[in-house]
């Protein structure tokens, strides 16, 4: 029984990290209808950039995080401007963007492999010690991760509701002709969306890097989980992604408890398949 509760708690924590990671994916898809097949690598890139600053100076992680956020934002802008934008203008962009982002993801993964090497890296946890409530064992570090994720979600929420750019993004997600009618520059919003999403994703990579080991291949695992989560929550729905992430995190933890870790991929596959058979629009109903 204690094992089960610990698994659930572990799943909740993992789920909140997954939620942070899935946000970037659902933001890009919601606004531009482009599905980022290089999502995992973006998260990894953000983590590696922050990692570079570790041990360079005091407060290195904070500086690294800031640099990572800015760098990933700019990277997203550039990727949109020079690659996605030209592809969107041609017919058959749905297939071409998928294949392009896949290829770019693999290219980036191998560049990271060359630059950083295959050995695993990790970002150290920033709060030692833990907490015991009866049978349950929780680290302060992991709790702080959850708090950070909640804060980030609240910040994003405020951004989308209160700022003009955020509102513009929401309107483009709702209706492109409608947004154009009120004078929104779709191209500019797409670019900003990519930038924002890349920054958020890179940030989630840093968080994930404090709990899991970093190596260039783990990006694919994060990405696939992100896909299932985003579809579960409903494509285009940010709150859906968050709920789905937490639920699936718990499900995964329980499944790993009773089966072994090898079954992770097949489990996610079955979850996804069942979702598509029973309720393809996801929990909160997104775009089909």
């Amino acid at each position: 029984m204690a094992n089960l509760i610990n698994a659930i708690v572990s799943g909740l924590i993992a789920g909140s990290l997954y939620a942070a990671m899935a946000l970037g994916l659902t933001i890009i898809y919601g606004v531009s209808r482009v599905f980022n097949f290089g999502h995992g690598i973006v998260a990894l890139l953000g983590a590696y950039i922050a990692w570079l600053f570790l041990g360079q100076m005091t407060g290195g992680l904070l500086a690294g995080t800031l640099v990572s956020l800015v760098a990933m934002f700019l990277f997203g802008l550039l990727v949109y401007r020079f690659t996605i934008n030209p592809l969107l203008k041609k017919p058959g962009w749905e297939t071409s963007t998928v294949l392009f982002l896949l290829g770019a993801g693999i290219l980036l993964e191998n560049v990271l492999l060359q630059v950083f090497g295959p050995r695993v890296k990790s970002i150290p946890s920033f709060l030692p010690g833990g907490l015991r409530l009866g049978a349950v064992q929780v680290n302060w570090h992991e709790l702080s991760l959850v708090v950070i994720v909640l804060a980030a979600i609240a910040a994003l929420n405020a951004f989308f509701k209160r700022t003009r750019t955020g509102q513009a993004m929401r309107s483009v997600a709702q209706s492109i002709p409608g947004a154009q009618v009120v004078g929104i520059d779709i191209d500019r919003i797409y670019g900003l969306t990519f930038g924002l999403a890349f920054a958020v994703t890179g940030f989630s990579g840093i968080l994930l890097g404090t709990k899991y080991y970093l190596n260039p291949h783990i990006g694919w695992e994060w990405m696939v989980k992100g896909f299932v989560i985003v579809s579960f929550g409903g494509l285009g729905s940010t709150s859906g992604a968050i709920y789905a992430a937490v639920i699936l995190g718990v499900v995964e933890a329980i499944a790993v408890l009773y089966l072994s870790a090898i079954w992770v991929w097949p489990i996610w596959f079955v979850l996804f398949m069942v979702l598509l058979l029973l309720r393809p629009q996801g929990i909160l109903g997104g775009r089909l």
Partner: protein, 330 residues
């Protein structure tokens, strides 16, 4: 019109190529080159079937290597453990691939928009290696299946060459007929105007299931030909490199054309040697190649061929007009 169609330079080229392929082993090809040709025959079938889904039917399927693996493993296991003849096990392998994939991937995802089949097939192909590792007793786990019996007892490379050539020709012919059948027309109609096509009775879901079932069957058969010609299969076939190579074959040749995947796979299979020289940068190069082609040369080799043809026609004004329907979309 018929006469010029038969005598067009494209048919002449194809005839010459066919003669060359038939005669090649007698022209003194080394065992290694025969091996490469066998790989080319099999991979061009995989690429052509993948192209049927992606280029003609507009289904973004990312799991085709999985079909190959299912067909290959099924055929190999049946032949090795139960001693059945490959001529029996290969079709069974194809059927197994087609049934499994149509049930688990096609049914859930083909009713929905394109992104779902892409996601589901990607996750499917990624789950197969762990399933294979878990079933070590039957599938040989991470080591894979080895010493799979060939088509004939005491088979030599040259036999494998001709058998795989025969499969290649047969399957390409089936694909050719499919593209020109009512199913092929249905996809052209759906692409031109989905609403009008649907009101005329074209059932998008059914047609998609049909090509999915056919393409997974043929790719599974190719998997069977693969294991019985080469004798081994392992989970590395499901890795990222064969996947990228497959995509590169389609993109390089020209997605949506008929000859594209064949040309693309020829270039990739025979050019793979150069790729091997790059060592650890292999995958990065492949990724860069795919990105580059999509950005700058989306029509691939066939686009180049068309441009040259147009230029030549303008310059000389003597070549016969292009046969209609040689490309599925501009």
């Amino acid at each position: 019109m018929q006469a010029t169609k038969v005598l067009s330079w494209k048919s002449a080229l194809m005839g010459l190529a066919l003669l060359f392929l038939l005669a090649y082993p007698w022209l003194g090809a080394s065992s290694y080159l025969k091996h490469l040709f066998i790989l080319f025959f099999i991979w061009s079938v995989v690429a052509a079937n993948w192209n049927l889904l992606m280029g003609y039917a507009g289904i973004t399927s990312l799991g085709n290597i999985g079909f190959l693996a299912i067909g290959g493993y099924t055929s190999g296991i049946l032949a090795k453990s139960f001693g059945l003849s490959p001529w029996v096990t290969i079709p069974i392998g194809g059927l197994a691939a087609s049934l499994l994939v149509t049930l688990f991937l096609g049914l859930p995802a083909l009713r929905l928009s394109g992104i779902y089949i892409a996601l589901l097939s990607l996750i499917f192909a990624d789950s197969l290696p762990s399933l294979l590792t878990q079933t070590r007793g039957i599938t040989g786990g991470a080591m894979g299946l080895h010493e799979i019996p060939g088509f004939l007892p005491g088979m030599e490379k040259v036999h494998a060459y001709y058998i795989s050539l025969a499969f290649f020709l047969a399957i390409q012919y089936i694909l050719y007929r499919t593209v020109r059948s009512s199913t092929g027309l249905a996809f052209v109609a759906l692409r031109d105007s989905e609403h009008l096509a649907t009101t005329l009775g074209v059932n998008r879901f059914k047609e998609r299931l049909k090509v999915f079932a056919l393409s997974s069957f043929l790719t599974g058969v190719a998997g069977g030909v693969y294991v019985h010609s080469l004798g081994d299969i392992s989970p590395t076939t499901l890795g990222i490199e064969p996947f990228l190579l497959g995509i590169a074959m389609m993109e390089l040749g020209g997605i949506g054309t008929f000859a594209g995947p064949i040309l693309g796979s020829a270039v990739i299979v025979f050019g793979n040697e150069f790729l091997r020289l790059a060592g650890t940068l292999r995958l990065a190069l492949l990724g860069a190649l795919i990105c580059g082609i999509i950005l700058f040369f989306p029509g691939g080799i066939m686009q180049l061929v068309e441009r040259v043809e147009k230029w030549l026609r303008r310059r000389f004004n003597k070549l016969p007009p292009p046969s209609p329907g040689s490309r599925s979309h501009s």
